[in-house]
């Protein structure tokens, strides 16, 4: 057997080798992306927590209403979008194309509602004089820097997720993409929800006026 034939043989063997984790490569790739993103969010949230706990005169600009109520609505919307995403993945796995597309559409709408509520919150803070480097209440200016950068990074993930879901829905509808793509995108969407489970208590609830 020539060397080129041996290489070809090894290549086929590699292609037929079962996945060590028993999942599709696209799903494993998404998991690897998620753990790297988790480290990014983990680092900035730890940094913020050190700063928040170590600064006695840290500003607490949020009132229960409207800020926390708005945050609770945003949490409800994002958690519900995870549920609709699960329904979309389940329908895709069962080959129920129409149901999958309807659940994907519901997830996209909920993602857009979340982003809209988030931006509305931001514009209220801007109107009150907050920015990356300004604190209208006096005292440490880092509140604006940490709040807008962390929530901004999360918002960017939500907007990216909505765009990805639109692409996946179109691709799945035209049979260019399969249920594996829907499932991998679902993983990303649940991760965005998971990050919010830390962002909401640490950035909203920790900064309620007491």
């Amino acid at each position: 057997m020539s060397e080129s034939e041996m290489t070809l043989g090894a290549g086929h063997a590699a292609a037929l080798e079962p996945s060590p984790y028993g999942i599709q490569s696209k799903k494993l790739t998404m998991w690897l992306f998620i753990i790297s993103d988790a480290v990014t969010f983990g680092a900035i949230l730890f940094g913020y927590s050190y700063l928040r706990a170590g600064t006695p005169d840290w500003p607490t600009p949020f009132q229960f209403s409207p800020s926390v109520v708005n945050g609770l609505i945003m949490t409800f919307v994002l958690l519900t979008s995870s549920l609709t995403m699960l329904a979309a993945v389940s329908a895709a796995k069962q080959g129920r194309k129409s149901a999958c597309l309807q659940w994907l559409a519901a997830t996209i709408v909920l993602g857009i509602i979340f982003a809209t509520l988030h931006l509305r919150e931001w514009f209220h803070l801007f109107a009150d004089g907050w920015s990356l480097s300004k604190n209208p209440l006096g005292g440490p200016v880092q509140f604006g820097a940490t709040f807008f950068s962390i929530t901004g990074l999360h918002l960017m993930h939500v907007i990216s997720g909505v765009i990805a879901l639109i692409v996946i829905a179109i691709g799945y509808n035209t049979e260019w993409l399969d249920s594996g793509h829907v499932e991998a995108t679902g993983l990303y969407w649940h991760f965005v929800d998971l990050v919010w489970m830390f962002v909401f208590p640490l950035l909203y609830l920790m900064n309620v006026a007491r």
């Binding site: 983990g42 706990a53 006695p56 609770l72 440490p140 200016v141 880092q142």
Partner: protein, 102 residues
């Protein structure tokens, strides 16, 4: 982490979703108790980790994948975050960046 493909149905997912909403309710309630900053931060972090664990295992199906996927991903993330935030010197830089009280 059973490693089987027996995934929960929508009824179980809805129960988990309600459970997660309850944890958010507890977090909000704790905010009204006027706890010290450190106690509130600790309580909220513990509840957030519980929520994240539930989401990871059930919503992201990690419980139903092969156990070696869990053992590859989760300890690696915990190790990196622990080293980065508690061992390496940069972890303490934020404490020194705080604005001194006037």
């Amino acid at each position: 982490m059973t490693g089987t493909n027996h995934e929960p149905g929508m009824k179980e997912y809805i129960a988990i979703w309600v459970g997660l909403l309850c944890i958010v309710g507890i977090e909000t309630f704790l905010t009204t108790l006027h706890l010290s900053t450190h106690k509130l931060l600790l309580a909220l972090l513990l509840l957030a980790f519980a929520e994240a664990g539930i989401a990871l295992l059930y919503f992201m199906h990690l419980k139903y994948e092969k156990p070696k996927l869990f053992w590859t991903l989760v300890p690696a993330v915990i190790f990196v975050l622990f080293m980065m935030n508690h061992i390496w010197p940069d972890a303490y830089r934020m404490l020194n960046m705080r604005v001194p009280i006037q």
